[in-house]
Symmetry: C2
Subunit: 349 residues, 2 copies
């Protein structure tokens, strides 16, 4: 119940001991020699009164708040932030920490970002997680790093900070490999036009996988558009109008794949019989609900949140040196999620 008015002193009085003793038993202090009797008295007194420690006072004294700051971009726009938060929250709680969340707009000014970090610093968080909503290079606020910090889904331009990012290239390879495994040899890529790591890395994975399979990865067809549903539709229309129409389509993300579904429908192409499609992101709402279900590659947002949090706590507790890990970003797997949008290509007629 944690009645806010009762403190360690009250417990001490109720148990007929000193506050030291109470503190010792409640915190299981190792070097404290306390009789089992006293222990019980203290514990039941605490229980009785509904005592809960005042973490502020504890923190002030121990210089440890047990709080982690999470500054996250555009919390509401994508489900990605939610998964990062969830991964971070669960990892944090498992080790007795809590999360303070600050939302920042993707377009926030440098000063406003610094103010966000400052707010966290004033509250004396033990460490900071700095998360972006899609994998990219960021210029982190200057005051970050006054405290242990790890970046989630981002790497920092300039300053080297521990970071965790998805294996974009590996994901692309898995996607293309699934098409190859189904027997496709004419495979196209619907890419994004933004100049972000995912665009480059997925393209590289696409070409390399084809080449390694003995196909001509360098000349394999690629159509680029804005990475939204209409862009996917446009790119797919162009792709499917090509003389040597691909039988397999790898899409930059699930939204573009959704556009490709419509393009295929308009052209009378059935998925997966006439056209196999693989997406990227595993956005539940889309991938699982499209008909047929979209085979896609999952981004490890939950895992990145959890990994970052665990590493951060390790650093806070002196079990790790973040400076060492900062040399190279940690790269997490993007697993293929198989649904029904991939099948063997139709036999040539």
């Amino acid at each position: 119940m944690s009645n806010k008015n009762i403190g360690i002193k009250d417990v001490a009085v109720a148990a007929g001991v000193s506050v030291t003793t109470v503190s010792h038993v409640l915190n299981d202090v190792s070097y404290a020699r306390i009789s089992p009797d006293t222990r019980d008295k203290v514990k039941s007194a605490a229980e009785q009164l509904g005592y809960g420690p005042n973490r502020l006072a504890q923190a002030l004294r121990t210089q440890r708040t047990g709080m982690l700051g999470l500054v996250s971009e555009d919390i509401a726009t994508t489900p990605h932030a939610g998964r990062i938060i969830l991964g971070a929250d669960e990892a944090a709680r498992a080790r007795g920490y809590n999360l303070m969340i600050i939302n920042t707009s993707g377009s926030a000014s440098a000063e406003s970002r610094e103010a966000d970090v400052e707010a966290l610093l004033e509250r004396r968080v033990d460490g900071i997680l700095y998360a972006t909503m899609y994998h990219r290079d960021v210029q982190v606020p200057a005051n970050l790093g006054n405290v242990p910090t790890v970046l989630v889904d981002a790497v920092s331009t300039g300053r080297s900070l521990t970071a965790v990012v998805p294996d974009e290239e590996g994901g692309a390879r898995a996607a293309v490999a699934s098409l190859l495994a189904a027997g496709h040899t004419r495979i196209g890529f619907l890419n994004n036009t933004d100049d972000v790591p995912a665009t480059r890395d997925r393209l590289r994975g696409f070409r390399a996988t084809l080449t390694e399979a003995g196909l001509d990865g360098e000349t394999a067809p690629v159509e680029s558009e804005l990475s939204e549903v209409p862009g996917g539709y446009e790119a797919a229309r162009r792709m499917l109008d090509r003389p040597d129409r691909p039988t397999g389509l790898f899409c930059y993300n699930d939204r573009m794949a959704m556009g490709a579904y419509r393009a295929a429908a308009e052209l009378g192409l059935a998925i997966p019989d006439d056209l196999s499609v693989v997406g990227f992101d595993d956005q539940q709402l889309i991938a699982a609900n499209l008909h047929p279900g979209l085979t896609t590659v999952a981004l490890p947002h939950y895992e990145m949140g959890a990994w970052a949090t665990d590493s951060l706590i390790d650093a806070i507790e002196g079990k790790t040196d973040l400076a060492l890990m900062a040399l190279h970003p940690t790269i997490l797997d993007c697993p293929l999620v198989t649904r029904e949008s991939v099948a063997a290509p139709a036999p040539p007629r």
Copy 2:
């Protein structure tokens, strides 16, 4: 920069004054009589040193943390939580508060929920926001209410707590009205099978609006299924197979509407020419990306988060009495979002 090592004392020394004076000027204490000279000295010293107050110490002394606890269900599953968090975060920051977030599973036990609240209480949050991911009655943890509390998207069974919920019936009315306005007279409802307020209230709004328009709301066709895409598909198939096929469809949510789109496509019915469709929820990923864009009703998650936070802070600051507001939940508007899925019914042939 808030160098963690420098405190009010350092500023005092640097400015050649006492800590009292520093505190007075930095906090703009009204009754303090301090010469402009001293003020400047103190301010520039603080600036110089990069001083930032230790909020823990402040909180311990003032019994105010400036932190709000937000316990939220299933953060990662829907974008809804994100919008509530965003609304709450922005409202909180506007008034100088920050958010501590605890995620709880929709299926968590009573004890685990109590432990979540307890964690917030131990950190001495000034108030608690308790949010659920869809509008429903909840049995709140017993220790909630030891501190000002407001429920978001939920009302409490038994104990009366201030709450804010969406106007489900009003949203349904707006949806049906838009169909009526387009000229439809045969309108069907694809409802959810769960026994939650939304199911009941949207149905009521559906029937009432038809009746008030001179149609027979009581016998208007309703098909119920699980409120997911496949359910929507099934319900729509049944609905569209009826002898007197409706020309307008109101769907319990956007996912069911997505299923209805597929059913319509299979039956060769073009949207909106042969069939008009209205959804509910305004899930961006679906509603905006379906083709044609889905006219739907938006749930005011952002607004509920913001309203709840503002009310909570008002209560904390003594500007409001939550007990008074607890008598009836506050109901927020669900506005119609018009896209392209509604048109006049085809002329009878």
